[in-house]
């Protein structure tokens, strides 16, 4: 491809992204072209790099998110742009955000498991809101009595939060395993009561895992 062709494809891609108003994948972008003019995947990637560069200094930027690429307003201009909208951006309750965080980092997870960690009941409203916003979805049912639904986050969740994958979530703070906590306590208590040292193999099913466990489930979208 010569430069002229690239420039043309670049303009078409920009036009399509602005017309779509939502992310488009490389495949979707390639599909816009008829067989004989369709750029190769690699060429399309090149075009996207060029497009990204061409947005320097403008009001918008090319952003890659989970479902593809989209053109979006630069964060630095949000204060001005948000004045366009009378409604303030929606705020989410701590309960909702905590539930969302648990689904994001611990998926697939049941409501009961969320409640175990949060120590309180999860209201049906929160689950409904997450499902309606399409940030979470049911990915199956746990094979235990009652067959509770298991929740996972969606591509829309990642798109909404400007992520390409779950591995881009901020890492969870680390937690030392129970055994270590147990030893600490034992030392501190000074033998007032004897601490029963935990089984050397703390139930591997529990979420005591290492900090990288967030990324181990990134394939679930």
């Amino acid at each position: 491809m010569n430069e002229e062709q690239i420039a043309r494809i670049q303009a078409i891609v920009e036009a399509a992204l602005l017309a779509a108003g939502k992310p488009l994948s490389i495949e979707q972008l390639r599909e816009l072209f008829l067989d004989d003019e369709r750029p190769a995947r690699q060429a399309m990637e090149h075009v996207l790099v060029m497009l990204e560069q061409s947005c320097a200094g403008r009001g918008f930027e090319l952003k890659q998110v989970a479902s593809g690429y989209r053109l979006q307003v630069r964060e630095e201009f949000a204060p001005w742009v948000s004045r366009l909208f009378e409604e303030k951006p929606q705020r989410y309750s701590r309960a909702l955000l905590e539930t969302l965080a648990l689904i994001a980092y611990r998926q697939p997870i049941t409501r009961g498991e969320i409640e175990d960690i949060r120590g309180v009941t999860v209201s049906s409203n929160i689950i409904r809101t997450l499902l309606e916003r399409e940030w979470a979805r049911v990915v199956g049912h746990r094979d235990v009595p009652g067959r509770p639904a298991m929740y996972a986050t969606t591509r829309q969740f990642l798109d909404y939060f400007n992520l390409t994958g779950l591995d881009e979530l901020p890492p969870l703070s680390e937690v030392r395993d129970l055994e270590e906590i147990g030893r600490e306590i034992e030392k501190n208590i000074q033998g007032e009561i004897e601490f029963e040292s935990t089984p050397s193999n703390p139930e591997s099913q529990t979420d005591e895992g290492s900090g990288d466990d967030a990324s181990s489930e990134q394939t679930i979208h």
């Binding site: 036009a15 602005l18 017309a19 779509a20 108003g21 939502k22 918008f60 952003k63 989209r70 053109l71 979006q72 307003v73 630069r74 964060e75 949000a78 742009v81 948000s82 951006p89 929606q90 989410y92 701590r94 309960a95 955000l97 905590e98 969302l100 965080a101 648990l102 994001a104 980092y105 960690i117 949060r118 120590g119 309180v120 009941t121 798109d159 909404y160 939060f161 400007n162 979530l169 901020p170 969870l172 703070s173 937690v175 030392r176 129970l178 906590i181 147990g182 600490e184 306590i185 030392k187 501190n188 033998g191 007032e192 009561i193 004897e194 601490f195 029963e196 935990t198 089984p199 979420d207």
Partner: protein
Amino acid sequence: MTDDTRAPAEAKPETPEQVPLALVSGKPLVDLPKDLYIPPDALAVFLEAFEGPLDLLLYLIRRQNMNILEIDVSEITRQYMDYIGAVESMRFELAAEYLVMAATLAEIKSRMLLPRQESDDDEELDPRAELIRRLQQYERFKQAAEDIDQMPRVERDTFTGSAALPKMPSSQPHPDVDMQELILALHGVLKRADLFTSHHVEKERLSTRERMSHILSVLQGDRFVTFESLFTVEEGRLGVVVSFLATLELVKEQLIEIVQAEVLGPIHVRARAVS
């Protein structure tokens, strides 16, 4: 414990005191009086600021600048019980989870008062370790929720760009049809009409039919054309025959009429369906 293994959450011990807990009579309730006295009308609001017993416990621990791993269970328990007691005496509805936690704390406290037990094979966890585990676990996700809230998100920190659409070609795509499908359809309809036995559509007939359509389309309207113009020499003998057959068939079906003004004069043809 050693200092280098401090809990990560300890890195931000400042938040609970600075963030208003609740709004009481329009004023932010930033800190609680040291004696734990809370105006009765604020107590319910105060508790609502927490996401449950673990959250309240975390608050109490942070307020004393304690490390989770070093919590003075008996002091935290006392404070927790004070709140629960106060709320109960106000006859506020209290979520069951708070009461369950109160029971757990009471159990831990009573265990600590008991002499050490000689039960090596006791698989049960120390309730305090279990509580600490839960607190730590909860704190991780409390933090994660705050992190998620800080992440740039659509409709608050960024906005999806879109532009108006230009005039677009109407794009109702045509369905694809396979010749096979067409044949099957024909087969179906002919079989239903039982036409196989009574009609024989020959190859020649088809080209005749095609020519019939062609001649009809030439004879649009009230126009006469010369008979000869229906034939093209270039088509050769076969073409002429096909045209001729088509013309005869059209006459037979009374679709065209053939006019000859005078004997041996030019022959003209026109479609019969004149309005």
